[in-house]
């Protein structure tokens, strides 16, 4: 038996749905391999994971895990005990109040006795690096620590197969890297097979095999180097490709010259190909953007702490937000980004001398004046992370109308505002009379955004607006954001995805430990490697690739500098390919 898990022609539908969530899927996972399962939201990936762990049982088809049929009632516990799962939301999988209690939960369930029990728990905690915190309370761990705790809880069960269901989706880039290295160590050192469900193409490219799921079926499978690099197919499936293959594809679109399939397989092969074609090209100066000058919001000496004498959540913040720009706010989880944006519409107000001044039209407003707050809240729209969790009305229309109504809009004016907002976020008017709770997660997010946009804010603050969406959803979200920006809305964007900040922002502001480290244009931000390390910021993948590429192409200093101004793959392709022609 080579396969640790296999599924043949599996179909399954949830009892409350008439649609097959998994609809004729077949998959095979080799022992000791690291497999990625990709697919759009709602394609059935998580359901597949539940079937493999016998949390649900398929309606049709056959699933065997460790050679045991999942329909074998007498032995399904043998499967469940040997399959470990880590889910997306760290909070909703922790049972214990303290770290060690939580890790012990699994082995206690299967009746492991002391001293083996204690040994398993502490060994697992040491392995993930949480031993020192064994008595800490789980509720106060950071997101990254919670996910490591979840892994420890699984390790203590000594699993043979580990399923990661979007386990890194809620983590910042540094925590994500740490988590992935940990997963890779498990495959290498402990010979645990891993099935990872993810939207992160970089993560997928690090695996041995990729499975792509679409509408309940496995539509493609094979070597990640072949599957992921087929750009048109990936885009069609609502997914994404690594930077290097996207660059080759865009170059083909620009120059009309096709590239050999092999060259898109890896960074090395793409560099080799690019250097045969484009060595020594001269790259002209890209068109300069005109920086925005007019200041809309100016933040001065802002500090805040949640408890008296507690640590500062943000400290001595000085920042100008310019009219019409897209400002990206980046930094590790817990660095104060959310605290800062919560100040922007006066939900929390600073102590002491700190103040925020707004210039709307010819008027100046400040959050220190109670009278101005209402105006500020209308002019500065705030969309928090996972805004779909704040919907409450029984129809989409009423939910979107809630904000503008509170602002005093009535009748036709209100109706117009609601309909316009729904259109801006890309929803059809037919959803207006539906209950928001019947919509898909992605649509709910758009409804929640429409609820803020309907208030016609001049500034829109978005906290991780694309979190948890599949690559296609992310692209659509950024299209909406760019449309809003085009129509004159100033955008403040909080994100963990450096490549998105790099591509869309006019300026990037980095934060660490509650303080602003640097504010500059994207292409300037990532020049100094030492500085980046100090700020705990990762360079965007595009930038890293272009840096290597510029060396391989032997670019002259001016061309190199120009190439590194490219903020998107498309721009880079235009620069390189344009120079070629």
């Amino acid at each position: 038996m080579d396969f640790i898990a296999s599924a043949r022609d599996v179909r399954f539908s949830y009892s409350d749905s008439d649609r097959y969530a998994v609809d004729g899927a077949s998959l095979f996972i080799e022992e000791g391999s690291y497999v990625a399962l990709l697919g759009a939201n709602g394609s059935g990936k998580s359901t597949m994971a539940k079937l493999l762990d016998v949390i649900e049982v398929q309606d049709e088809g056959e699933i065997k895990v460790f050679g045991i049929d999942t329909k074998d009632d007498a032995r399904f516990w043998d499967i469940r005990c040997n399959v470990g799962c880590v889910f997306q939301n760290p909070d909703n999988q922790i049972v214990g109040t303290t770290v060690e209690e939580d890790v012990a939960f699994g082995p206690e369930n299967i009746g492991v006795k002391n001293p083996e029990l204690a040994e398993r728990v502490y060994k697992a905690l040491r392995y993930v690096g949480l031993y020192d915190r064994k008595e800490s309370q789980t509720a106060y761990l950071s997101g990254g620590q919670k996910q490591k705790l979840a892994i420890a809880g699984v390790l203590a069960m000594k699993p043979k197969l580990l399923i990661l269901d979007e386990a890194t989706a809620m983590l910042d880039p540094v925590s994500r890297d740490e988590f992935l290295s940990l997963a890779e160590r498990l495959v290498r050192e402990k010979k645990i097979s891993i099935l990872t469900i993810t939207h992160d193409m970089t993560e997928a490219s690090r695996t041995d095999k990729v499975l792509i799921m679409d509408k309940g079926k496995i539509t493609m499978e094979g070597d990640p180097r072949e599957i992921l690099n087929d750009v048109p197919k990936m885009l069609e499936a609502g997914l994404d490709s690594p930077i290097y293959s996207k660059l080759l594809w865009e170059l083909k679109n620009v120059t009309g010259v096709d590239y050999p399939v092999d060259s898109a397989r890896s960074i090395t092969s793409s560099l080799r190909y690019l250097s045969t074609r484009f060595t020594g090209v001269r790259i002209n100066m890209p068109k300069e953007k005109h920086p925005q000058k007019e200041t809309l919001i100016s933040i001065r000496d802002l500090s805040y702490r949640y408890e008296d004498k507690g640590p500062y959540a943000i400290k001595d913040i000085n920042l100008d937000i310019k009219k019409g720009e897209l400002l990206a706010l980046v930094g590790r989880s817990g660095c104060g980004k959310t605290t800062l944006i919560t100040h922007l519409n006066g939900i929390i107000r600073s102590e002491g001398k700190g103040k925020i001044e707004y210039r709307f039209g010819n008027e100046t407003y400040t959050t220190s004046s109670k009278r101005d707050i209402k105006k500020i809240r209308q002019k500065v729209g705030l969309v928090f992370q996972y805004p779909e969790y704040q919907l409450f009305e029984d129809t989409v229309y009423k939910d979107v109308a809630y904000g503008p109504k509170k602002m005093g809009l009535k009748g036709d004016e209100l109706d117009k505002a609601v309909r316009e907002a729904v259109k801006i976020v890309g929803l059809d008017e037919s959803v207006l009379e539906q209950s928001p709770f019947e919509l898909s997660g992605g649509q709910q997010r758009r409804v929640a955004m429409a609820g803020v946009i309907a208030m016609k804010p001049e500034v829109l603050v978005l906290d991780e607006p694309a979190a948890g969406l599949d690559p296609k959803g992310r692209r659509e979200m950024f299209k909406t954001i760019n449309d809003l920006k085009e129509s004159g809305t100033t955008i403040v964007l909080v994100t963990h995805y450096m490549d998105e900040a790099y591509e869309h922002a006019d300026r990037i502001c980095t934060m660490k430990d509650g303080m602003i480290m640097e504010v500059s244009e994207p292409c300037r931000m990532f020049e100094d490697k030492e500085e980046l390390r100090r700020m705990e910021i990762r360079s965007p993948y595009l930038r890293r690739f272009l840096e290597i590429l510029s060396i391989r192409l032997g670019l002259d200093p001016v061309s190199r500098k120009n190439l590194l101004k490219a903020q998107s793959v498309r721009q880079a392709a235009l620069m390189i390919g344009g120079a070629d022609a």
Partner: protein, 268 residues
Amino acid sequence: MLKDISIGRFYRGDSVIHKLDPRFKTILFVLFMVAVFMLENPYAIGCLIVFSIVLQIMAKIPPKVMWNTVKPILPIVILIFVLNALTIRDGKEIFSWRRILITDTGLKSATLMSLRLLMMIFITSIILTLTTTPLKLSEALEKLFGPLKLIKFPVHEMAMMMSIALRFIPTLIDETDKIMKAQVSRGADYDTGTVLKRLKGYVTVLVPLFVSSFRRADELSTAMDARCYNGGEGRTKLHPLHITLRDIIVFIILSLCAVALVVIEKAL
């Protein structure tokens, strides 16, 4: 906004009270609750207050944490005080204005009732919630009520439900805070307006909170399934409860204190 509330939150420590076997703690809790309700004599109540403070020092709980625990129920304490003071009309008149009449019996009873409630929360938090992790507490209850299994009472399930509820209190408080901030930024106002208007306003918080609780419950049960949870049968424990000599001594001393309070009450 809500982050300061610490009802139901565990405060980590290594005091005698923290280490005391949770079964003893549960029994002590019952004893003290009985005592609190029996006491009426001001001297006895004075002793109880002194005793609670000694207990707090023994448990090494900083006054600030204690204050945050008591703070959220202060409105209820005040309400009980006012209701008692206004409704009890016998006894000597102290103050009267139109239909409002405040008597000495009324004041006495008001003070007594509100003090009782306050002491109840105070002692419960020190003996139980602040010093005992929810899992330990549920383990103790499971053991203490173990015999009920004979009459098919789902002891383990109840204990598990309780410990999960307690484990999720901080998570739900954070969530409520987030939702409120989001709705405030959409123009919601929870601080002004009539009582009815304010209560109606809370719909915008409660609906999302319920929806998300169901989602959490769903995900948590999947996670528990995945970790092979299958009820109490055959479960082992990382730190099984075992009673030490020190536990017995502390238990005896503290229960004698409870008895002493009742004796003081009866004697005076």
